[in-house]
């Protein structure tokens, strides 16, 4: 039987606010335990939550970015359960009425083996605001568990998709797209190591061609795309094998172990909590007016799709180039800065997506960490355009610039890569070449076109590669046809 995997994601994105979602406590990562925990974070008797408007601003921004319905009235609810790192014994979240309703994002799934790259729309079910819990710290004190409430009350936007993905590749493409988007609009720093962007993945399988969803298992807290890919692939295989062996899938929460590459059940549905959600009486319903949305809209950067369209129109880029350049705002900004510094757009796009991206990837660096600035890249490309260096020479200059060996012109000079564009000097070389290769000249005159290329090659060789090939072509043609 052929199986189909069905995947949905729940992503917790930590919002970039100055303070916690329901109190004025700071949210600096990595501070001494419990130094970012005020009375509200500690859930002392008598304290009350007050909603952080910045967090709401972030949620509206996200809603606008995915073209979603933004609820004019949404409600904070209490999710009740006991856990040592949950100081109130309940988490303030949103349940029946979330702030962001249905929306969608378009993903680009890269080519894989014989499968070509393709686009797909992933539907977003909802996104809601909630507070993060603290952390249990084991081993800090001998034989005891410690509680660090620095993270308690950190604002999160939980983004939930429909079960729209059909492969690990699609799930990862969605997660990457979302990761870029929340950074693009400036609501999340995207730092996965620090837990600012964490994914829970719901996986089920069903016989291909059937409608009914299989029983799902939820892989919790994946904080790298690599692990996500591995976890989904393992989980999918495990579920298919279990079913093919005549077993049944129990609804469960599972954890991925990166060391073994396996997923393992954490708790089953039977042990699951009844969270007893009810509207939090300490907080008023969240009312969002059209004026609020307009205010946020004014603060919204150009979105990836709009920017893609603009790059195509303004710089005559292909859809593919424009799409690749807008996978991240920093990359797109780099491109635009280079063009504004005088580089030719198509050539810039080729270099940014070619040499620059390849270098960054191989060194696992972000475009912001590129040793070659957009302005420096433009300088390099201008030297190709004005004939100072050849394309091949430019590659050498690029490597040297990457290694911080100096600016474009000094590297060209130091390495002697300047092209010969003095037509007098080139004529002298060509005259010598023509004199020394009489046989080839005869062949050309007899109609053998190939001989022309051979003569160009001889001329380039004689100039040690520094002659401007276009000029060599032009002068040679003139002399042969004279």
């Amino acid at each position: 039987m052929e199986w189909e995997v069905v995947i949905g994601l729940e992503t917790h994105t930590q919002l970039q606010t100055n303070t916690k979602i329901f109190s004025g406590a700071a949210i600096k990562y990595g501070a001494e335990p419990n130094t970012q925990a005020c009375e509200v974070s500690l859930a002392l008797p008598g304290v009350l939550p007050v909603l952080n408007k910045q967090a709401v601003h972030c949620a509206i921004k996200f809603g606008l970015a995915i073209n979603a319905e933004i609820a004019p009235r949404s409600v904070f609810a209490r999710k009740n359960y006991f856990y040592p790192d949950l100081p109130k014994g309940y988490q303030i979240s949103q349940f029946e009425l979330p702030v962001v309703g249905k929306g969608a994002v378009t993903i680009q799934v890269p080519a894989q083996g014989k499968h070509a790259a393709y686009e797909k729309v992933i539907n977003i079910t909802r996104a809601h605001l909630e507070e993060d819990a603290g952390k249990s710290v084991h081993g800090a004190v001998e034989g005891m568990s410690g509680i660090d409430l620095n993270r308690a009350g950190t604002p999160l936007l939980e983004i939930v998709t429909e079960p729209d993905m059909r492969s690990a590749a699609e799930a990862v493409a969605y997660a990457k797209k979302l990761h870029e988007l929340v950074q693009w609009i400036g609501i999340c720093d995207g730092n996965m190591q620090e837990g600012s962007f964490r994914c829970d993945v719901n996986v089920s399988v069903r016989p291909k061609g059937t409608e009914k969803l299989g029983t799902r298992r939820e892989i919790k807290n994946l904080n790298s795309f690599k692990f996500m890919q591995q976890a989904i692939e393992y989980e999918t295989r495990w579920q298919i094998e279990t079913l093919e062996d005549g077993g049944k899938i129990q609804q469960a929460t599972v954890l991925f172990n990166p060391d073994t590459g396996e997923t393992r059940a954490m708790r089953s549905k039977e042990e699951a909590n009844d969270y007893r959600y009810f509207p939090d009486p300490d907080l008023l319903p969240l009312i969002i007016t059209d004026a609020d949305k307009a205010r946020v809209s004014a603060d919204m950067p150009e979105l990836p799709e709009a920017m893609k369209a603009r790059l195509e129109a303004q710089y005559a880029l292909s859809s593919y180039d424009a799409s690749s350049l807008t996978t991240s705002r920093d990359l797109a900004d780099y491109f635009v800065a280079a063009v504004q510094a005088g580089a030719e757009p198509k050539q810039t796009a080729n270099w940014v997506m070619g040499s620059v991206s390849a270098k960054l990837n191989s060194e696992d660096k972000d475009i912001n960490a590129s040793p070659i600035s957009a302005q420096q890249l433009a300088q390099l490309l201008k030297r190709i355009a004005d004939g100072t260096i050849s394309n091949n020479a430019a590659k050498q200059v690029f490597e040297a610039m990457w290694a911080n060996e100096g600016d474009v012109d000094s590297i060209i000079a130091a390495k002697g890569l300047k092209q010969e564009s003095d037509s007098g000097a080139i004529e002298t070389i060509i005259d010598e070449v023509l004199a020394a290769n009489g046989a080839m000249v005869e062949e050309f005159k007899a109609g053998k076109e190939k001989a022309f290329n051979a003569l160009v090659g001889q001329a380039m060789k004689a100039s040690k590669g520094k002659a401007n090939p276009a000029q060599v072509n032009e002068i040679l043609k003139k002399k042969l046809n004279a």
């Binding site: 002392l44 009740n80 014994g89 009486p281 008023l284």
Partner: protein, 499 residues
Amino acid sequence: MTNIDLTNASLKQFGEMLQSKKISSTELTETFLARIKQYNPNINAYIALDESKTLAQAKAADALIASGNIAPLTGIPIAQKDIFCAKGWQTTCGSKMLANFIAPYDAHVISQFDAVGAVNLGKTNMDEFAMGSSNETSYFGAVKNPWSFDRVPGGSSGGSAAAVAARLCAAATGTDTGGSIRQPASLCGLTGLKPTYGVVSRFGMIAFASSLDQAGPMAKNAEDCALMMNVMAGFDERDSTSLNREKENYTRDLNKPLHGLKIGLPKEFFAEGLDADVGKVIETAIAEYKKLGAQIVEVSLPNTGLSIPVYYVLAPAEASSNLSRYDGVRYGHRTAEYTDLMDMYCKSRAEGFGAEVKRRILIGTYVLSAGYYDAYYLKAQQIRRLIAQDFVEAFKQCDVIMGPAAPSTAFKAGEKVDDPVAMYLQDIYTISTNLAGLPGMSVPAGFAQSDDGKSLPVGLQIIGNYFDEARMLNVAHQYQKVTDWHTQAPNLNMPEGTA
């Protein structure tokens, strides 16, 4: 020390004495502390006293007075219900769970009194987590009614009520979730006001049922309550349900005549369940209002009978969640020995909470559970809106609503402890205003004779429309100008054997 009888003066009179320097705040405070020492061991109105803190505040108040920097309550000793966090004070909420808890911050109400230089005389006893109508659920022992030591003072603000009645403070704060200011005010013969929900900030007030809890004053008379309200009320951004309104002067209307006032009498408040003697006292009070020029109209609050069942779904639901933070992890009671986390939770909460609190946590957890939520919690919320609508209709016909504050006078200690439903019925006339968010007050209106021949106070309830506190205080004050029920104090030196 002066020879003036300090114990029966009003807040206004205390203020005049302090400002004219007839007496210092320190002297006044010491007088009350001495009285507390003498009578409190028997009445048990206070959970926490801290003479050094209290006297330091009195001294600071004397300095303020000397510098001429005075507000009406500067230097006056006020008792604070032990539900308010006060920095450095033991703050227990009447529970073993918090018996060892020293608050590291001030509730809004506490800082408001501090800001005007009032003196915190001590923390008053209360039903555990404000759950009770007799002050018998306190971990720190029952409070005795100063009018009859074998009877309850009402609850949950029973310590504050007994302290005011026994003149163990100049005035006190209370909180009212279903009647916890008005019922004890009625049973102890004092004036108590539960303001409109959202008028007094709940920040630092330990939560019982967040959508119903509201703090208010408990004092000898309406004018005192107005002066207390001027300190307690006001917007506080730390409470999202605090209403952002302009600051009011609650004494502004005290002396307005009542001519033409329309008083609505809900027929449901004078039906079965009301003690006949209490009913008579209320009728006499209404007759007094007629003499003052008021008109009487009959109104109906048809859903009154549903208020208790609705309340005992909603309040426990919120409480079950509000009390989850008492888990033994960060503060409060933790059991001495446990095998694992679950054992620690279970034992700590089993030991830290009393029977009534556990009962309500169980009810609340049940009504919020999957499969029951719609039938209980959601349905109760719908009826809550109907109850509020009843009042909207009634207030189309009248300016204020009057009736009894409690169905009976103070009952005997122990009488209802084993019958929770009988206990819950104590709040039959007060709960609906909490559900509607309306202001209500209880005003001393006379006495009824008990079977054993005791004279026990009866409270008249005045319910106003939203934000009509100033008018209600006016209505009470005008009555108190022509009656003297509010000036009567119990004789604390009862013969042997009656205590």
